[in-house]
């Protein structure tokens, strides 16, 4: 018997920001299936206009609390590109280290606090503190490690201050870096614990595949996160200067966040896109984690984005240890605790791109000769995934439409959560709304 889907207004949670799913079916016939973003617009593109070149990163940091380091550094890269500011090798390594800390923190938050309860059948991480006490404490330790990485390098984990145009206002001490290295080395058991747990629950991840395009940064020398050029799994390397043609942002009525498309009707960004595009450059520990899950590129199952995040978690720890070793080997070049890099303020237009935890992030600013912003544009990873989520839903729902409504709803919530959407970045809430169109 074909059913009518008539669950209405159930709140889906454990995502960052407000969105809703609308599914409308009568007698098993799908009539509407839409991913809506209902976040209040925040207008950052306008908020930066008229502000000084050395304030822009401070403002755009507030686009997102969870990836504030990435927004800060992408803003800085764009301003530095506009003014042809070169960073020292030391500053680049320190930025990479802070970024690794943020991605680690964000991945563990998402995987451990937001997605894991689905796999163990709980509503939140709180009851897991009773059923999985050791695992929860492990997740807390790893999350804390990510935050400590950011704090040591950038001064504060949310809206860090030390990253400024041209470098850092203040540097970590070498002793702090050595302590951090010891904590990173000491975290492998914790990573193993989480890998064992997720592996034991991997059967709970739905088997769903839809071929799509993956876009990320790529770099010849390393697994691209801070540096690199845009790369499409369909069309190869792309030019950063053409980023508007890569993303093709467009407004759709169902969403206050823009949608994007490139070679196909949608593309995916984030951990799985990076894994698929740059797998060969993962560190040995990360590759070993991938092997334990039997995960190889190209993987088209969006639910495995969570596993890709776990693989990257291992990679980020390896990468951070390498960066610290390299910094300590050459010794930190001293600077004042109130350092102001020498920047020649000039007019210009600049673009910056960084791999945020959730995918490739673009910022662009036009500055006048006094360094005042005339125009700004930010293309957020979650925006780039909206169309892909929409198309996944359209493919997925007909295959599960005969299942109990509660299960359909849960499967869709898990899909959205797998993307780790950061909706407040773009414009908070996830409402799943099944609309009953059955005549009264």
């Amino acid at each position: 018997m074909s059913q009518n889907i008539d669950i209405e207004g159930n709140l889906v949670t454990r995502v960052e920001g407000h969105g809703e799913i609308v599914v409308n079916a009568t007698d098993g016939q799908l009539e509407a299936c839409e991913w809506h973003v209902v976040e209040s617009p925040r207008f950052f593109e306008s908020m930066v206009v008229g502000r000084d070149w050395d304030e822009i990163h401070h403002i755009v940091s507030r686009i997102c609390g969870i990836c504030s380091v990435t927004h800060t550094m992408t803003g800085l890269k764009a301003v530095e590109d506009a003014m042809d500011v070169e960073l020292s090798e030391q500053d680049v390594k320190l930025r990479k280290l802070a970024l690794a800390g943020e991605t680690l923190q964000s991945h563990v938050l998402h995987l451990g606090y937001l997605a894991l309860p689905d796999l163990v059948g709980e509503k939140s991480v709180v009851p897991m503190a009773n059923t999985h006490e050791e695992e929860v404490k492990t997740v807390i330790r790893l999350h804390k490690l990510g935050n400590e990485l950011i704090e040591t390098v950038a001064g504060r984990s949310t809206h860090a201050q030390r990253t400024i145009p041209g470098g850092f206002s203040q540097l970590p001490r070498e002793a702090e870096l050595r302590d951090l290295r010891a904590s990173l080395e000491g975290s492998w058991n914790d990573v193993e614990t989480v890998v064992d747990l997720v592996l034991s629950l991997a059967d709970e991840l739905p088997e769903f595949t839809r071929e799509t395009e993956f876009i990320s940064l790529t770099d010849p020398d390393e697994y691209a996160l801070y540096e690199g050029v845009p790369y499409s799994s369909d069309t190869g390397e792309l030019d950063l200067a053409d980023y508007r043609e890569i993303v093709n942002e467009h407004v759709v009525e169902q969403s206050t966040a823009k949608f994007t498309k490139h070679d196909r009707d949608s593309y995916m960004v984030g951990a799985l896109a990076r894994f698929n595009n740059n797998y060969e450059q993962l560190g040995p520990m990360a590759t070993a984690v991938a092997d334990r899950f039997g995960l190889k590129p190209v993987c088209h199952n969006p639910y495995l984005n969570n596993v890709a995040q776990l693989i990257e978690t291992a990679h980020l720890i390896e990468h951070s240890i390498e960066l610290i070793d390299s910094l300590l080997e050459s010794g930190l070049e001293a600077q004042s605790d109130y350092h102001k890099p020498d920047v020649d303020v000039t007019a210009g237009q600049g673009v910056g791109a960084i791999e945020a935890p959730r995918g490739i992030l673009f910022h662009e600013y036009a500055l006048d000769e006094t360094g005042t912003a005339l125009e700004g544009n930010c293309v957020i990873p979650t925006n780039q995934n909206h169309a892909n989520i929409q198309l996944d839903m359209e493919r997925l729902v007909p295959t599960i439409i005969e299942r109990p409504q509660e299960e359909i709803e849960h499967t869709l919530e898990m899909l959205v959560r797998a993307y780790d959407p950061c909706i407040s970045c773009s414009t908070h809430y996830l409402d799943v709304e099944f609309v009953d169109t059955q005549p009264e």
């Binding site: 991480v125 984990s157 860090a160 201050q161 109130y338």
Partner: protein
Amino acid sequence: MTSKPKVAFFDFAGCEGDQLEIINLEERLLDLVEVVEVVSFREAMSEHSDDYEIAFVEGSITTPHDVERLEEVRSNADTVIAIGSCAAFGGINSIRNEQDFETVTERAYGEDAAMFDDPDAELFDSFAQAQPAKAFVEVEYEVPGCPIDGEEFIQTVTAILQGGDPSLANHPVCVDCKLAENTCAFDRDEICLGPITRGGGCDATCVSQGTRCWGCRGLVDNPAEDAYSEVLQEYGVTTDELLNEFTLYWSWQREHGPQADMQEVEQ
């Protein structure tokens, strides 16, 4: 206290950085759930209940839908606490309050900005101003900051649980800066908002990290009297000049005053 007080968290337009600072309390968060029952925290849990005594709200109020939700929270809660600068006094979202709204929408949405005038495009129904919670409902307490300081949040919760009254410090950031033995930002040719910004919860962290005070905790009460006048006199800057210098966090507060509450504010 015989039963744990029920606590709920709500987010409006903002970056969720304040809720993240609460999650960042890490192990201490487990201590917190020993003494309160969290019944709603959308960012971290699926459970939700409208039965709560204390509501924490984050983010500024920017749409008619926000106002509806906020009023519902107010009617359910005994105590409403605004966390973060956006909820407490408009914060960074209020930068746009000084810009023409049509231009604001066009800069972000291009020609599609017309949707903001379309009565059928409900999602785009947005106020021209970003406003704090207290512009619409009574708010008992505030924990300002961008982001909030986790310790100050714990102190506020502790005071309320003990039946006390959490109060904010009313000294400028300069005092914390002196305690931190920082070199004054004015001495480094920076314009610093420390003399008129409320200290007491941030340990002057931005100056300590080599930058300047950006004003994220809002104005001290009566800034003209309480400002660190010694610093301002030494560098020949007046309170009014400083107030006009910065519109980063204060666009709403400058217009309505640091102690503005619902009764004084036009919606």
